[in-house]
């Protein structure tokens, strides 16, 4: 069991998984020969190469005993969520509301949310991005839910 959570075992496993995906999907593309490659030739070579690397990395895990470094799971989830929320609300709620959402969600990564400071930060960033992107660069970004 301990063997499985070693860093290099997981790294090798990731390579093998990606390689499996590449090779699986690559079956749909004509392969051809080295002289006249089809669209499937390089994917196959790369997939096999990555699988080879994956195996080598797992093999090296036999000797190494490096454990996984710690990941700040809370920050990982919340920052990713903040970007996704921004992506899917920008065209709908407009720049300002989306900015507030992004700032508040990503700030939840901190141990405690300082509501006033975060609000002020969001407000300041709205102003700053308005000045840079809208006034300065004339970018066509929707500002409010009711803008065109």
């Amino acid at each position: 069991m301990n063997f499985l959570i070693k860093r290099d075992v997981l790294a090798g496993l990731m390579c093998l998984m990606v390689s499996a995906l590449v090779l699986w999907e690559g079956q749909n593309y004509t392969q051809g020969t080295l002289q006249s490659m089809g669209p499937g030739y390089l994917p196959r070579v790369l997939g096999l190469g990555l699988a080879g690397c994956g195996l080598l990395i797992m093999l090296s895990a036999l000797r190494s005993s490096e454990a996984l470094p710690k990941l700040n799971v809370r920050a990982f989830c919340l920052v990713t969520l903040a970007i996704l929320v921004f992506a899917f609300t920008l065209n709908w709620l407009g720049l300002f509301l989306a900015t507030f959402l992004l700032v508040f969600i990503s700030s939840l990564s901190e141990k405690r949310l300082r509501f006033r400071v975060t609000g002020l930060l969001a407000l300041a960033l709205c102003g700053l991005s308005y000045l840079i992107f809208i006034v300065g660069l004339n970018m066509p970004i929707r500002l409010f839910p009711w803008s065109f």
Partner: protein, 502 residues
Amino acid sequence: MDLLSNLALGIETAFTLENLLYCALGVTIGMFIGVIPGIGHLAAISMLLPLTFYVPATTAIVMLAGIYYGAQYGGSTASILLNLPGTPASAVVCLDGYPMAQQGRAGVALMMTTVASFVGSFITVIVLAAFAPPLASFAVAFNSTDYFSMMLLGLVAAAILVQGSPVKGIAAVLLGLILGLVGTDVSTGIQRYAFGLTFLYDGINIVAIAMGIFGVAEVIANVGKVKGVQSAQKITFRSLIPTRQDVKQSIMPMFRGTGIGTGVGILPGTGTSIASFLAYAVEKRISRHPAKFGKGAIEGITAPESANNAAAQSAFIPTLTLGIPGDAVMALMLGALLIHGITPGPNVISDNPSLFWGLVISFLIGNVLLLILNIPLVGLWVRLLKVPYPLLYPSIVLFIAIGVYSINYSHMDIMLVAVFGVLGCLMLLLGFEPAPLLLGYILGPMIEENFRRALMLNQGDMMVFVERPVSAAFIALSVLLLAWSAYSMVKDRRTARMAAGQ
């Protein structure tokens, strides 16, 4: 002398009040655009294009070009201070720039990259003035065979970028190559690994990858950590000044970087990223103490920075002398010329000498301006490190998101940043390095496309790659480099074993 009268014409054109003003405006905008992570100069230039409708063609191009090369200066600022690249080309500056900042040498790093940018640009502009037409005819004679062999050399160089485990480094390069497969296959028109998603048909946006695996992953890794060293440091004027040792160690790398950048930049389609990655790899390879790389080696920031600025300037050579744009930004420059009624093409220089020579002189003025503008800003940028991280990181994430959005006005690109942020975290956890992945991604499509095209044009004859002299030279270099790397790896391991045995 012909050149002298041309230069006189250029000086006359560039030193009008209007052109000076627009040049200053362009480089200032570019400088700030470069600093903001994610937002590209392409988006900025296309949005500011309408501003130039009402001024003469030369003035318009002077300003738009200023944004382009100005942005190359700022790109490394965020790389050094925050370990996130302002542009994909400055990703490689993270490798040594960020360690320098952690050692309290952020000011020195920023100062030296500014100087390196200036050296790279200035020399290349002089080369441009003196040799543009012959260089352009060399560039245009470069064919698919040569491109393939050159990119192959780049791929070998990617292996040199690896700092940790070589196998994991190769795996990272392969991952990058695989990401490069996504999208339309140029030779057959088939969509590969797009899973029916139209936003993937043109491939994954490189900025989304760079911002995800460098920027977002870095932010996540830093949140919640007590920031020790750098925020406690006092920022004194002295701490901004490079030592004599720094300057001495940087002179040759800057010249080598400039050479590489100029060479890569004149080839249409190669871009500034390859130049900076290659320059880094060369420095690391020829250095007498390669172990210092990745731990704050000054050559590791000055060489790529010179290279990327040199490449940005020399990209104007094929664009202006032949009318063949190397990338989207250069295509936009030609579009701007068209809007002003000048048809780009091989006759631009002879038909519009004041445009070409005025532009060349404006490059020189613009670079001097950038040098003057950037030095006092170094102190200001360093102060960014004083901003508490809880305030800084939401701002970083926001600017990355808006910046990526501005490239295509596509919210799917922002979503991709999140996806690559997750990948970046996984890579950080599992010990894969992002820089080789990025280089693999940049090179992959070019290698495949040119390899297949060269063989299609030559009835599948593999010998073409060694028959053409340029291509043969690159292949030979790649083989040599590979052999050398293998040799030094074995040697290192032997010395390490001997050291361990004692």
